[in-house]
């Protein structure tokens, strides 16, 4: 479903060449819940950005649902992102002047769905995160946990195959974080593949697989060995 072969990312400035991600292989199957862990600056977010087609890799191959994304145009990538990928960010990234309905509806607008179809999907997504009654509220009227739920609803509205979450509980207190994690697990249980970057090892252990990024090197963590240790 998602296959990366010898994928790498290098940043160039005038004088410095920085290898953000060394060549790595990774395969993610449908329905998996992958946690990406590692220290700050190790390349986790770069990995997530490349996975979400927000950044191009410097080399290697990346196949998403059978499509070689390295050969796609900007427009084709936008379309693929819209149809296959949902994003959840640490800082929620809701547009403050749009109400909850309009925020969640945003990806569907770019899919040119009918008004009735958009309404149905937005209401369903908001019901999934328990915020159906807050459609006309604005982000500033919600708590942090509720805002993150709205962001999850926005990611879910387009029924994506992948959910990419960049430290989704990073800005939440532990109670709200637990709520969001439970929600993500429910979504994963319903069949959506989730790749989540996190600092929190306890949250990482709730994933089906753990990938560690350290100094640009991506490696799979052997959970069995870890458990023994």
């Amino acid at each position: 479903m998602l296959r990366m072969n010898k994928l790498a990312k290098t940043y160039f400035t005038d004088t410095v060449k920085t290898q953000a991600l060394r060549p790595f292989d990774l395969e993610v199957k449908q329905g998996e819940f992958i946690a990406v862990v590692g220290p700050s600056g190790s390349g986790k977010t770069t990995f997530l950005n490349i996975t979400g087609l927000l950044e191009d890799a410097s080399g290697g191959e990346y196949w998403l649902d059978g499509v070689d994304v390295c050969t796609l145009s900007d427009k084709q990538k936008s379309r693929l992102r819209n149809e296959k990928i949902g994003f959840i960010f640490q800082s929620f990234n809701l547009i403050p002047e749009l109400n909850i309905f309009d925020n969640v509806e945003m990806p569907l607008r770019y899919r040119r769905l009918s008004h009735a179809e958009r309404k149905k999907r937005v209401e369903y997504a908001l019901a999934q995160v328990g915020l159906h009654s807050r459609q006309t509220h604005y982000p500033s009227q919600l708590s942090g946990g509720q805002q993150q739920r709205v962001a999850i609803a926005r990611a879910l509205a387009g029924s994506p195959a992948f959910l990419l979450a960049d430290e989704p509980t990073g800005n939440l207190d532990s109670k709200m974080a637990d709520g969001v994690m439970s929600l993500l697990k429910e979504i994963n249980a319903a069949g959506t593949t989730i790749i989540m970057v996190t600092h929190d090892l306890e949250q990482a252990t709730q994933a089906s697989r753990i990938v560690e990024v350290k100094d640009g090197v991506i490696s799979e963590v052997d959970r069995h060995a870890q458990a023994i240790a």
Binding site: L54, S78, R81, E97, L98, G158
Partner: protein, 442 residues
């Protein structure tokens, strides 16, 4: 998506209302300065008779002294006006479709039941009935005088709507009388609102002033020997035989502008041939002792030669266009500031699937709304500036300082198109951000 973009644009305009207002104001000021000067220039130089300007000609005959060229010009050019006898001869020969002499006089005007003390000085245009058809004047009441009045010089008069308001309170005055000097005239027609800009048929110095309010047959002026020496230019290379008006009529003094309307532009050469043969006939009679350099000149050519079109107004337009460009650059920098605050939103929209084209459309719509509002504001300010100009320059026709529908539409279109064009740079800068770098800052 269009309605969605409109909604987003309105939200964005409200969210950044101070910057948006500033951009709109700057565009409005630039548009206003450009369109005010352009309107004046356009109205001053537009073709007053677009359907026939290429077949209405001023007749110029080289009637001047055998000793020296007219005004001693190195390249011989005929005077712009002709003598009374040539005017009458050319009308009598009847070779053109229409013949329009432009003469006139000044007289005391009153109604028959008014005392002489109540009379007011009025400038009268003496011409032919062809004047009204050649220059397409609209009639409110009645019509032009009949051909017979031109031939016999009847005491009939056509007055303007404004004069009809003054004399007859706007009523249908056809058949009523008025007194010019000692002579009673009968009203045969009342013109409706009529403006010919530039008014090319007479003295070029007055091309941008309103037409006269009273029109009588040229033959009537001739018959009644109505002459006002200080009203119009007249030039004589040979003094009249005596000081009487009839001697002036019979003299070589030139002062009548004589226009002809031909059936088509193809007849121009034919009419010039006729003029040449006419002059040759007159030469045989001892007149026209200079080379034959007859000319037929269009109204535009005549006004250009007389330098009625000031190059200052054209320069002013270019300066105003430069000012508009400066205003648009300023507006562009404001729009850039506006859009800089949107980089995180742009990144988010890219992340959820918006293509570059989607974002260009969204933000171009926002800049076009700024342009439309700026255009409407510019239009209001242009009207205000034109009104102030018309109050300052009262000697010029108010029509120079008024916009027609085409100019109003052009104002809004210019504002919108230029705003979109100058907004493209900020738009491309805004959407050129790397989403990955911005998504943490929304």
């Amino acid at each position: 998506m269009f309605i969605y973009y409109v909604k987003l644009a309105c939200l964005s305009l409200w969210q950044t209302r101070s910057l948006s207002f500033l951009a709109i104001l700057i565009i409005g000021v630039g548009i206003s300065a450009t369109m005010t000067t352009y309107t004046i220039n356009y109205m001053m130089t537009k073709d007053p008779l677009p359907e026939k300007s290429d077949r209405v000609f001023l007749v110029r005959l080289n009637n001047w002294s055998p000793e020296a060229a007219y005004r001693n010009r190195a390249e011989e050019q005929p005077p712009t006006y002709i003598s009374v006898q040539d005017t009458l001869n050319l009308i009598a020969q009847n070779k053109a479709k229409r013949h329009v002499p432009i003469a006139g006089f000044k007289e005391m005007l009153r109604l028959p039941d008014q005392n002489a003390i109540d009379a007011e000085v009025s400038m009268v245009r003496a011409t032919s009935r062809d004047f009204f058809s050649t220059f397409d004047t609209p009639f409110l009441y009645g019509s032009s005088w009949p051909k017979s009045s031109d031939v016999s010089g009847e005491q009939v008069v056509v007055i303007s709507k404004a004069m009809n308001e003054v004399l007859f309170s706007g009523e249908n005055s056809v058949g009523r009388s008025l007194i010019l000097g000692e002579n009673q005239f009968t009203v045969v027609g009342v013109l409706n609102e009529w403006f010919l800009l530039p008014r090319f048929y007479g003295d070029s110095m007055r091309a941008f002033q309103a037409p006269r309010d009273i029109f009588v047959p040229f033959q009537t002026q001739v018959n009644l020997e109505l002459w006002t020496s200080n009203l119009q230019s007249f030039e004589c290379w040979k003094e009249p035989e005596n000081a009487t008006v009839s001697a002036l009529w019979a003299s070589e003094c030139v002062w009548v502008f004589f226009w002809v309307e031909l059936n088509s532009v193809d007849e121009k050469a034919e009419y010039l041939d006729f003029l040449d043969s006419y002059v040759k006939e007159q030469q045989a009679l001892g007149r026209f002792q200079r080379p034959i350099v007859n000319q037929l000149q269009t109204g535009s050519e005549y006004l250009q030669e007389r330098r009625a079109y000031s190059s200052d107004s054209e320069i002013a337009v270019w300066l105003a266009v430069c000012f508009l460009a400066l205003c648009l650059l300023n507006a562009m920098s404001i729009i850039m500031t506006k859009f800089q605050g949107k980089t995180a939103e742009v990144a988010l929209r890219r992340a959820v699937g918006a293509s570059s084209l989607d974002l260009v459309q969204q933000y171009a719509l926002e800049t076009s709304i700024i342009g439309v509002i700026g255009g409407v504001l510019g239009l209001i300010m242009t009207h205000l500036c034109l009104y102030i100009s018309s109050q300052l320059y009262t000697h010029l026709s108010k029509d120079i300082m008024s916009m027609n529908v085409e100019l109003m539409l052009a104002t809004v279109i210019l504002s919108t198109v230029s705003s979109v064009l100058f907004g493209l740079f900020p738009i491309f800068r805004a959407i050129g951000v790397e989403p990955a770098k911005q998504l943490k800052s929304l």
